[in-house]
Symmetry: C2
Subunit: 430 residues, 2 copies
Amino acid sequence: MKKDTAVSEEARPLKSRRRFLSEGSALVGGAVAGGLGAKAALAEDAKTASVNGPPNIPEWMKYPGADVGSQLYGTPSPFEKNVIRNVPKGAKQYTSAASRSPLAELDGIITPNGLFYERHHGGIPEIDPAQHRLMIHGLVERPLLFTMDDIRRFPSESRIHFLECSGNPVYTKPYGKTASDLVGLVSCAEWTGVPLKTVLQEAGLKPGAKWVVAEGADAAALTRSIPIEKCLEDAMLVYSQNGERLRPQQGYPLRLLLPGFEGNMNVKWLRRLRVASEPTYSREETSKYTDSMPDGTAREFTFYMEAKSIITRPSGGQQLTKGFHEITGIAWSGHGKIKRVDVSVDDGKTWSEAKLQEPILTRALTRFRLPWQWDGQATVIQSRAIDETGYVQPTFAELLSVRGENSFYHNNAIQPWRIASSGEVTNANS
Amino acid sequence: MKKDTAVSEEARPLKSRRRFLSEGSALVGGAVAGGLGAKAALAEDAKTASVNGPPNIPEWMKYPGADVGSQLYGTPSPFEKNVIRNVPKGAKQYTSAASRSPLAELDGIITPNGLFYERHHGGIPEIDPAQHRLMIHGLVERPLLFTMDDIRRFPSESRIHFLECSGNPVYTKPYGKTASDLVGLVSCAEWTGVPLKTVLQEAGLKPGAKWVVAEGADAAALTRSIPIEKCLEDAMLVYSQNGERLRPQQGYPLRLLLPGFEGNMNVKWLRRLRVASEPTYSREETSKYTDSMPDGTAREFTFYMEAKSIITRPSGGQQLTKGFHEITGIAWSGHGKIKRVDVSVDDGKTWSEAKLQEPILTRALTRFRLPWQWDGQATVIQSRAIDETGYVQPTFAELLSVRGENSFYHNNAIQPWRIASSGEVTNANS
């Protein structure tokens, strides 16, 4: 791992805002009115404009627009119809079904509910919330059965956290072309629900209660074992996401949220919590979601997702033009807050510290940004995240040296993007 | 204004979590399986359950659910079809068109884009982003014309802020029945865009530049004058909301964001910024959005929305049952952060400090919560916000004593809810 964080000439933050414009109008005007510069385009428009008046009046100002209430539940502009979830071609339904967030098209840290990544093991059940029940039993003083109305009457909390699939990406090649192909199984939302601790205290834990086995009400009855410490720390029974009720794809009407833990442990369509002295060793914690290590052992129960980051713009599949660009991306860590993100624009020789968007929240996406003038030379750009524990995101080579070739999940390696002199951006790992 | 913040018996935070259950199973079981207690319901289910096994297997676990990718852009569950924007009956299209967020159905502080309130003056234009331009002219060194691609290449920021219409509610009776009817013209999102300061610096301000006149590309060409200080402080040219591109109803492809300023100044479908020495005295800052004062003068250019709060649960139109409830709602101030929210459950005799959800962000919604045991007696509940400037949300009587009867906009009065002994919740102002 390179420790050099010297600021390279290319990556140095621009001191003078004027440089956006003064360097050959690289930013402004380049794409205006068929390549005219900003002033030329303005002058052309001004021919038809009154003094201090507007440029050409666009068609859509000449008649009233759509009525209010024409969308009682709004949808994106028709011009954004290609910003959708990314479903891998040929992926099997049910056991390995997933769709990815279109990361390169997203800004900020909140993922809108319509574009939140999906991962299902038995399809998406359509659950009537009036019929749904959550059962708490096993090593408890009082087994309990809750309706959704019951759950919603408990004291609630709202918190912004990321969720990430543990195979994001898996080690298997090919790695994919875009940020979404590679790392699109991560999203972030404001979750509202009840601290699991509150509900477990209602039930009363018996001596020997060390695990909670959670079961979903999907056709897979997806089952995972969670250490009791996490259940009593920050686990939540979640019913709302970004203000509204959970979407069916995200577990409507109730899911478990284990901030920082691998995605599939955050059991969706949650129907049962069995308090136990031992984990249940379900399919999803034995055959799946464990990593085969070089010494022949299996690395199991690796709950927390390690620190990771990815540059989302510029990223694979995009086309770059010479001149000013803001490099931006997302970073996150299951262990807490992101402390720093470094960006290299010279194939890892030097690194510059990116600016992190405030507020930096624990176990949430953190948006990073770095201004950059691209000189038109071929190069490789990449980011690395450092979290508040001091952990540094590794290169793929570093990860391989520890985990070996048979590991499958939990790939948090640095993702480099190759920029050709033509401006084409591709996956430098391919 | 009452200064007494003594904690009343009813409002005292519950010391023991067990009380949720121990008081006659008021919380758990009351609504389970047709009124059976928690244990009874559990026992009934257990008849068909195996040892340590699940309760009745619901139908939706017996067959695979919907395919991943069946919604490339997700939508809410069909069971949430009534959670939609609230369009006032009989409201005119165009000049006074609005729809309100369903506040009582929302949790947390993020408003999902599909439920964000709307306010239009000439309908919703459908704008092709490739054709859209932003012109900056007037008292500038270099008039500029930007494409959306140009705008997106500038250094960006993301911030969470509320937006609120200045007539939320207007003084005119009837006030409406629900939280949405009354105060539904407020919403909150994470916005991404370019600091307006950056773009104005590119254009170069000439001496005498005191105002920026913003114009929208809708059929109303909605026009507002903004003090230059705000433009250089925290104003933004916004293209994304909650991660994805702005919705058409919120100004796609570009809007102005003036954190804390009244809604209509945050010009949507932004096409023009004219830098000037004087305001333009447009319709929306003379005939509209000014308040007639008792002395016959007009209170104009009242930019900032004052501190406000509302209890969203329990709220008008809901039905309460005896026992434990969490009182929850939202508070906000155009002047900065919310410092405190007090809640009264005894018609204003005593007030208790509610818990504020962290992180508390400047000029953003802040979620407050207070646990409460309702004893079944008729009462009035209400909340009052205090912001970081020390400003205290007034009662409607206090507001009237200053503004008089002819004021129309900028009503930030305390909203009391009457709870009948039947459990019916109604607007105590009606």
